[in-house]
């Protein structure tokens, strides 16, 4: 397929040098109106189809559409594509596509030295420079001398390509300039434009003129690479070898949660009720599910997070698989109602897509600073299982697992994602739904001997009895109660008994979850232990230093409550434990609270994921 375009390319200029690389990180950056997300997606999809591993991370402007041309108005898309397995979207880019001066200014500090820059020179006028806060034109002078800079009048070339289209305004034409950049980058990395052509055809099926203009500009960009003297090198990132065969697609963490919820509901043979209040970065789960009503998904946009949580409790009481998601301030608001769910012992999923805190904080940025909150942020002794997926794709399986635990143990469950996992994308090997294990979710309908808080011997779960079931009418609520009967009780022993029973029930989930797996030496000097979305950076860092010959083991916690049965044992086998996390040391504190260990902390609270090098450097420092 890749040949189609390549062969049709003219060979006016000297054949460019072909260079092979194992992986490349590109950043596309421009105004939020410049279509950078779409551009990045197209490049990524084509690379994935060609057999690269891919990992992407969007950098969407904070909150409001800021004035065009300014740094706050930038929309960025980072893609890492590789011929080996990828764990992150890359520490720093080697290629920057800067649609305006602000994009250059904001991204230059991160670019690898010697990296490639493509700039749209048409935007480097006085107005553009001023908006970006440049005193003088960075393209003139020595500032960029360490880089491989390609100055392309993208706007002009785009307009040229569309010159003869009648009735199309310049404004409309300019909207296509991302296609020019994309075509050019496709050429640079020796990628076919076919998939994107097909994408235009499907996406704009009802507007053939849009298909025409975009396709034309895309080709123009591609041919420009072919023709223009400025590009001397083409970079080739070969396909990955030995990838598991199957059908793949890319998934962000939030998309994976959407699919996971729908799958869990189908596997439990229940309708899905999803009650939520919009909040960044959780809103896309609501939006994703709202489009799937044909799966008997009932989405409810509540008046606030408290109402959302209340609706989920009601829906769980009445027998649906019920879920909600929120972030930061919203999770805090839900805490009172979550506690009611704990006491009512009803199954439901609460997703916390963590963002930078405290308070409103950094809504569009990532952080892992809500761990202790979800564990302890409710009045009284209120245990809740907490799961944290390590990667976007893992959100799919872990959502299902979380629902499975919720129903099996009759308890609300927290799924702790974060802004990075939510928005980052990576390839997902599409599973056969038939092979996913069903979730046993049986309502009790036999009134004989029924008591609202009678418990399963093994799991200590109480029976799920839903309104509409004859002969089993019962009333439950948030007051202190007697176990078994569920009657309101202020008796000292009743209170202590049910509190301890609930604690025991949740602790018992440790029998149901997998033990912690360690990669690397089974005992020794150092174990690097992470949790949640820092998985990729930690894994890559550890593999890097292992490659340097350092003896390091690695493990990743996906179950934060209860902790895996073998965790204490694992911790005991290493002289030192390093815990990297995007907070001031919450898992570290948790481990020390539970086990007789002291851990070394690596903390970062910058609204950003770890870079691989930050973790690798710390490991080297510890082992030095």
């Amino acid at each position: 397929m890749a040949e189609t375009v390549a062969s049709s390319a003219s060979a006016d200029k000297q054949e460019p040098r072909e260079e092979e690389r194992q992986s490349v990180v590109i950043v596309f950056s421009g105004d939020s109106g410049d279509g950078m997300q779409l551009t990045g997606d197209q490049f990524t999809n084509t690379s994935a189809i060609l057999g690269n591993d891919v990992s992407t991370f969007p950098d969407i402007p904070a909150e409001i559409r800021a004035p065009a041309g300014t740094i706050p108005g930038l929309s960025g898309y980072q893609v890492n594509f590789s011929s080996t397995e990828l764990y992150t979207a890359g520490d720093s880019p080697q290629v920057l596509v800067a649609m305006n001066p602000a994009a250059l200014k904001a991204n230059l500090p991160d670019l690898d030295s010697g990296g490639t820059i493509i700039v749209n020179t048409d935007t480097f006028n006085r107005n553009g420079l001023r908006k970006a806060g440049y005193e003088s034109n960075p393209l003139e002078g020595e500032g960029l001398s360490g880089y491989d800079v390609h100055q392309v009048p993208l706007t002009t070339l785009t307009r040229n390509a569309l010159e003869d289209i009648e009735g199309m305004s310049n404004q409309e034409k300019d909207k296509c300039k991302n296609a020019f950049a994309l075509g050019l980058v496709f050429w640079m990395f020796d990628r076919p434009i076919d998939f994107t052509m097909k994408f235009y055809e499907t996406k704009f099926a009802s507007r053939p003129e849009v298909v025409e203009s975009n396709s034309r500009v895309l080709k123009a960009g591609y041919y420009y690479g072919e023709t223009a003297e400025t590009f001397q090198t083409r970079i080739n990132v070969p396909s990955r070898q030995a990838v598991e065969s199957g059908v793949y697609k890319r998934l962000t963490g939030n998309e994976a949660i959407v699919l996971g919820l729908v799958t869990a509901a189908q596997k439990a043979n229940k309708p899905l009720f999803y009650g939520s209040y919009p909040i960044t970065p959780a809103s896309t789960i609501l939006e994703g599910l709202a489009a799937l009503k044909n799966f008997d998904v009932r989405t409810f946009q509540a008046e606030d997070e408290i109402a959302a949580m209340g609706s989920v409790i009601g829906a769980a009481f009445a027998g649906t698989l019920a879920a909600t998601a929120s972030s930061g301030p919203g999770i805090a608001l839900k805490s009172e109602a979550i506690n009611l769910a704990v006491v009512m012992e009803l199954p439901m999923l609460v997703v916390n897509v963590q963002r930078g805190g405290p308070s409103t904080g950094l809504p569009t940025k990532t952080e892992q600073a809500d761990l202790l909150e979800v564990l302890f942020g409710r009045n009284g002794e209120s245990p809740i299982p907490v799961l944290a997926p390590a990667t976007p794709v893992e959100c799919f399986n872990m959502t299902i697992e979380a629902c499975r635990i919720a129903i099996r143990y009759m308890t609300p469950v927290f799924l702790l994602s974060d802004g990075y996992v939510a928005n980052n994308s990576e390839p997902w090997k599409i599973p056969d739904p038939a092979l996913i294990e069903p979730i046993e979710a049986n309502f009790r309908t036999d009134p004989e001997g029924y008591q609202p808080y009678m418990r399963d011997e093994k799991t200590l779960a109480r029976p799920w009895v839903v309104p509409g079931t004859p002969g089993m009418e019962h009333r439950i609520g948030g007051l202190g109660k007697q176990d078994v009967t569920g009657n309101v009780s202020y008796a000292p022993e009743d209170h202590e008994h049910i509190i301890r029973t609930r604690a025991q029930k949740i602790a018992g989930i440790a029998d149901y979850i997998p033990e912690l797996e360690v990669t690397g030496p089974e005992e020794g000097d150092l174990l690097v232990l992470g949790w949640g979305g820092t998985y990729g950076a930690i894994r890559a860092a550890v593999e890097q230093v292992q490659g340097e010959g350092l003896e390091v083991a690695r493990a990743h916690l996906r179950h934060l409550n209860p902790l895996p049965r073998n965790l204490g044992n694992v911790l005991g086998r290493y002289k030192q434990i390093l815990v990297p996390e995007l907070n001031l040391g919450q898992l570290a504190f948790l481990l020390q609270g539970h086990f007789p260990v002291r851990v070394i902390k690596l903390n970062k609270v910058q609204g950003r994921p770890f870079q691989i090098r930050e973790v690798a450097d710390k490991i080297r420092e510890v082992l030095r």
Binding site: K249, E303, G310, I313, G314, F317, A318, G477
Partner: protein
């Protein structure tokens, strides 16, 4: 099947739970509980299809005493839980029990939104103009100047009118009744139950311990007839011990007239609960003691599709348009690629 059996057999006793009732002796809540237990068997709803949801307050203990499904939830949030229940199973008859504090103070917003969505809930607000359970602080319906534990010099808040609030929340059914008027109460409960969509009922309820005189003007035999006008569909607004007073419009505002012969019933406002424009019902709600008689009965009842009806219509429409959800095609939608 079980429905038929249930229907034919249910009596008041079937709705009495095994829990000891724990309100103060003489509390108005008893009368409401008794009427509810009397009305329910008449509705022909299988007992297992009835759910009572409450918040926190004296009144909110209500569900414990009803031998139906029930949730005694948290302060102010009952409408949200009830919305979830109804969305899970629209066949259920879902009742919300709330107080003037639970429903209008901490829970005011949920009341507003569940009403405006027209979620098919029957919301009964027990108004005793006081916080009962926490032992006597003033509530959003307490009168200005009311001295309570938290307002030793008298409350400085202007009280809310629950009926006005419900109307501005686009409620499709709004009524007022009283604990002690058992006949009227049972009529209103029945009407609320029959309404498709959100029904809001304010029930004047006497807290004999903490605010015992709050409703004297509507209960004392010598004055109540002058202070209440009973609304009846299609009938003119007439009140007074001897039914000798009526309500007439004067421009945009109502006024009291004596039916002394000069003025005839034709000139009076004729009650129409089904008016699309809520202004009429709102105008009634602004008739307040002592200047005007308080309207009792159904102020407004209009038919509009309920929230869950529309919710399930969309689910059906989606199934019709896209076919019942199939995981395999969902997984494989979008840009996929094959590795072999």
């Amino acid at each position: 099947m079980s429905e038929a059996v249930a229907e034919s057999k249910l009596t008041r006793k079937d709705f009495v739970s095994d829990q000891e009732v724990r309100w103060c002796p003489g509390c108005g809540d008893y009368a409401i509980l008794a009427q509810m237990q009397k009305v329910l068997p008449e509705l022909g709803i299988p007992r297992e299809n009835i759910v009572f949801v409450s918040g926190i307050g004296c009144s909110s203990r209500f569900p414990y005493y009803m031998n139906t499904y029930g949730v005694h939830s948290i302060h102010g949030r009952a409408p949200t839980i009830a919305t979830g229940i109804k969305s899970a199973n629209p066949d259920l008859s879902v009742w919300v029990i709330t107080g003037d504090g639970d429903g209008l103070s901490i829970g005011g917003n949920h009341l507003l939104h569940s009403l405006r969505r027209n979620v098919d809930l029957k919301i009964l607000l027990f108004n005793n103009r006081i916080y009962g359970l926490t032992k006597g602080q003033y509530s959003p319906t307490s009168l200005q100047g009311h001295r309570t534990k938290s307002t030793p010099m008298g409350s400085i808040d202007y009280p809310l009118n629950p009926i006005s609030v419900a109307l501005s929340a686009e409620a499709t059914f709004v009524a007022r009744t009283q604990d002690t008027n058992t006949k009227h109460l049972s009529m209103v409960l029945q009407r609320a139950a029959e309404h498709k969509g959100a029904a809001f009922v304010e029930i004047y309820q006497n807290c004999v311990v903490l605010n015992p005189t709050a409703w004297d003007h509507t209960t004392k035999a010598d004055v109540r007839d002058d202070n209440i006008v009973f609304l009846e569909e299609g009938k003119p607004l007439i009140f007074g011990k001897n039914l000798d007073k009526g309500i007439r419009m004067n421009g945009t505002e109502p006024e009291i007239v004596s039916l002394d012969g000069d003025i005839t019933e034709d000139e009076l406002v004729v009650h129409q609960e089904g008016r699309e424009n809520a202004s009429y019902a709102y105008m009634l709600s602004r008739m307040e003691y002592p200047s005007m008689p308080l309207p009792f009965g159904v102020l407004r009842s209009v038919d509009k599709p309920s929230y869950t009806d529309m919710m399930f219509d969309q689910v059906e429409a989606a199934v019709e348009a896209k076919g019942a959800g199939d995981l395999n095609s969902l997984f494989n939608a979008g840009d996929t690629w094959v590795v072999d």
